[in-house]
């Protein structure tokens, strides 16, 4: 197995998806900041979710995973080469090829298998994005925007993480920038982003989404102690929300 390291600037970011998209665009020569990417994509959202399927109420603060990439691509005219795979070995070969061709590639993974993270932080959630920027025999070099430096991840772990099943299964989803237009006018995309975000936050006629969701959350959070056995479990639940945010 050959070795290939792509020179790639690692930066931490506040959110994994905006972090990866921003890093890919910056690598491709389009300098945007993370808040700008977040704003253009209209990433802000609020939802207070409670259902019998969930062990505990939860809230979301951003739009659906994958939305930021799609909206950026649509509003700025940037083309991402995206692919999903049924067969894990095909997915692995495609990732190796993309890196050998010199594209830093973002992959969707299950957060649990990122074993450079401390153990208490690792939870099973399929909507995490990392950038793979190097392959070295049995290891990949991974740039994770939640971690302070680039780290190594075993090939087998990466394969398991990319083809984890369950809700929002990644199915080996990977993407890299294919084409970035020479000239981009940001005025229109920014206005669209603001309009869309304000619509999502204020106009949706559903009582647990947007501003209405914030109000509902404020009411319901008083009932949280009653939902748990003791203070320890409550702390555990809140901690878990903190990790996921």
């Amino acid at each position: 197995m050959d070795t290939r390291e792509i020179p790639f600037e690692h930066r931490m970011a506040a959110h994994c998806e905006t972090g990866t998209v921003t890093a890919l665009l910056n690598h491709g020569g389009l300098t945007l900041t993370e808040p700008l990417v977040f704003g253009i994509a209209g990433g802000i959202f609020f939802g207070y979710l409670k259902s019998p399927d969930l062990p505990f109420p939860m809230f979301i603060l951003r739009s659906k995973p994958g939305n930021i990439r799609r909206k950026i691509s649509k509003r700025l005219g940037i083309k991402f080469a995206e692919s999903r795979f049924k067969n894990p070995s095909e997915g692995e070969a495609a990732l190796d090829k993309a890196i050998r061709d010199g594209h830093p590639t973002a992959v969707q993974v299950d957060f649990f298998y990122m074993d450079y993270m401390p153990e208490w932080q690792r939870v099973h959630i399929n909507a995490h994005y990392v950038i793979v920027c190097g392959v070295n025999g049995s290891h990949y070099t991974v740039s994770d925007s939640y971690y302070k430096q680039k780290s190594l991840l075993e090939r087998q772990k990466m394969l398991t993480a990319r083809f984890a099943g369950g809700m929002m299964a990644p199915k080996g989803m990977m993407f890299y920038t294919d084409h970035i237009p020479e000239k981009i006018d940001l005025t229109k995309p920014i206005i669209t982003g603001i309009k869309r975000a304000s619509f999502n936050m204020t106009r949706l006629p559903i009582p647990f989404l947007g501003i209405k969701g914030i109000h509902r959350f404020a009411e319901k959070v008083k009932e949280w102690p009653a939902l748990t056995r003791d203070a320890d479990e409550l702390a555990d639940r809140i901690m878990r929300i903190n990790i996921l945010l």
Partner: protein, 128 residues
């Protein structure tokens, strides 16, 4: 929020937040996490208590190692069944402690892959 109100000295979890800086510009600051700094010991203590309780039940033969790993990694039965790729009712059957010894290596391997541990670890959990 201002930068100085937000900054937290903690080594456990570093994160990026966006805040107003001294010169009134707006930018990113690298800081520790508030919740992590104050609640991490409680969180770890809770995990340890859970681990102890579950191990006690495991020794008594009330639960199977699969159930132990499921709760320790905070998954629901439906979620785990989907990740392993077995039917939900089949999973319910496999999860029972009396059926654990009957499971073959092939199916245990699937579980081990999802839990991110080796097969031996699952098999020897009762003795350690």
């Amino acid at each position: 929020m201002k930068e100085k109100d937000l900054y937290i000295e903690s080594k456990e979890q570093q994160m990026i937040l966006y805040a107003e800086k001294e010169d009134e510009s707006y930018g990113e600051i690298a800081t520790g996490s508030y919740a992590t700094k104050h609640h991490l010991p409680e969180f770890i203590k809770y995990k340890e208590t859970l681990d102890k309780e579950l191990r006690k039940e495991l020794m008594a033969g009330k639960i199977s190692p699969l159930y132990y790993f499921m709760l320790m990694q905070d998954m629901g039965p439906g979620d785990l069944a989907k990740r392993v790729g077995v039917n939900r009712w089949k999973f319910k059957k496999q999860m029972k402690p009396e059926n654990f010894d009957k499971l073959g290596d092939k199916i245990l391997e699937k579980y081990a892959l999802v839990f991110g541990v080796s097969i031996e670890r699952i098999k020897e959990l009762k003795t350690h």
